[in-house]
Amino acid sequence: MVDYYSAPKKPIQVEIFPQKLLMPDTAEELLNSIDKVTGVLRMMIQGSGLPMRVSCGPGIGTPIDRSDRRIINVSGQAFELNIRVGRIRVELEDKSAKEPLREAVENSLPIPFEFREGFFFRKKASLTDYAKYGFKSREDESINIEDERLLGLIDPKADPKDRICMLESNE
């Protein structure tokens, strides 16, 4: 990944939508190959959750001991993959990184996928973000958040602790 703040201000966003839900091994390989593409600023994975416990019904609270909820390693950073990956959104520093990204995905995904450019996660703070984080001060009305890359990556009401993973830049 490249340094977000030194990137030119015309980034593009791309969505990769595989035809099937990815098992952890494939997801790990895919995320690593995306990360190796020059010009990736940030990425988001989305999919159906793999809960630890039964959350409703007569079996509520029963542990779900599943082997496919496991720790994966992306660019040397380990995190628990607690979803079945169904969609990957990537922000690139500019259009020149789009084709290398497509090639990387083609090489690591064994199944067909959709690859589309669009606007998927926001770059500016929304009203909800201001409600959550507030202003920096009375004088400075910019949003009170340390890292603006977090904006639009997760649900504003969610706890970012176990949902955000920072990958170190090589540069």
């Binding site: 839900l21 809960p51 079996g59």
Partner: protein, 249 residues
């Protein structure tokens, strides 16, 4: 000449499969023992007696009623069984059965059942042994592919998700999974672990599922491919709209 019911119009494979499900002319594809089925349903311990909610009808001294004399009670009712359910989720990716067709199958071919049809799941409530008979029929025949359908009492989420890479419908509670080339279920309908692994057999291949499905899909057999079905649907909808409206009165 004896009356022969005509269940569904159309000449496509989907229409033919729908007729098969409704008339119960379905092929048996796998064997699931009674004990395994009872375990998967999770309402009582396998091998135990059926708990009852009232004494057997024969001991109850029923009132003198012409309807009761005409209608033979189902085995579950006669024994006083509890009412219990079986619930299915069928993947939209060419699962053999559509929720409505599970309901038609149950309502046409079984007595004393209360089928409930929802967008992604289908439930049958009945006296316990009647429900088990219905569930056994559905689980062992071509109405079910273990990879594309599942017994799900809770958290039915998955029917409209894309299939997993291994071709199996996503299951949030991991009740069953592909182990080798067969589907193994080791939890009951609501996600409580079982003391056994139930072998549900091989899932259908993509081609076989496409052949046996009752889903109309644009990438397989589209609804509009079948002119006879369209004609009858339009007729049903027209009559339904007009209902009892008689402009000449």
């Amino acid at each position: 000449m004896a009356y022969k019911p005509q269940y569904y119009p159309g000449s496509t494979s989907v229409a033919e499969n729908r007729r098969k499900h409704m008339s119960n002319n379905v092929e048996k594809l796998r064997e699931v023992s009674d004990e395994d089925l009872t375990a998967m349903l999770g309402h009582r311990a396998p091998g135990s007696d059926y708990p009852s909610t009232h004494p057997p009808l024969a001991e109850m001294g029923e009132p003198d009623c012409p309807v009761r004399q005409m209608v033979t009670p189902t085995p579950g009712t006669a024994a006083g069984d509890r009412v219990r359910y079986v619930q299915w989720a069928d993947s939209m990716y060419n699962a053999p059965s559509v929720p409505y067709w599970r309901s038609y199958h149950a309502a046409i071919n079984h007595r004393g059942v209360d089928p409930g049809t929802l967008s992604g799941r289908q439930v049958v409530e009945a006296r316990e042994r009647d429900m088990e008979a219905c569930a056994k029929e559905q689980v062992e025949t071509e109405m079910t592919c273990p990879g594309l359908a599942g017994l799900r009492g809770a958290t039915v989420h998955g029917h409209s998700c894309r299939l997993q890479e291994d071709g199996v419908m996503f299951d949030m509670l991991d009740r069953r999974r592909l182990e080798g080339d067969v589907i193994i279920q080791d939890k009951d309908q609501v996600g409580v672990p079982l003391d056994r692994k139930v072998n549900m057999g091989k899932p259908m291949s993509e081609a076989e599922a496409a052949k046996r499905t009752t889903f109309y899909r644009i990438d397989n057999v589209a609804f509009r491919d079948d002119k006879e079905v369209i004609e009858w649907m339009q007729r049903v909808w027209e009559l339904r709209t007009l209902y009892g409206y008689q402009p000449h009165d």
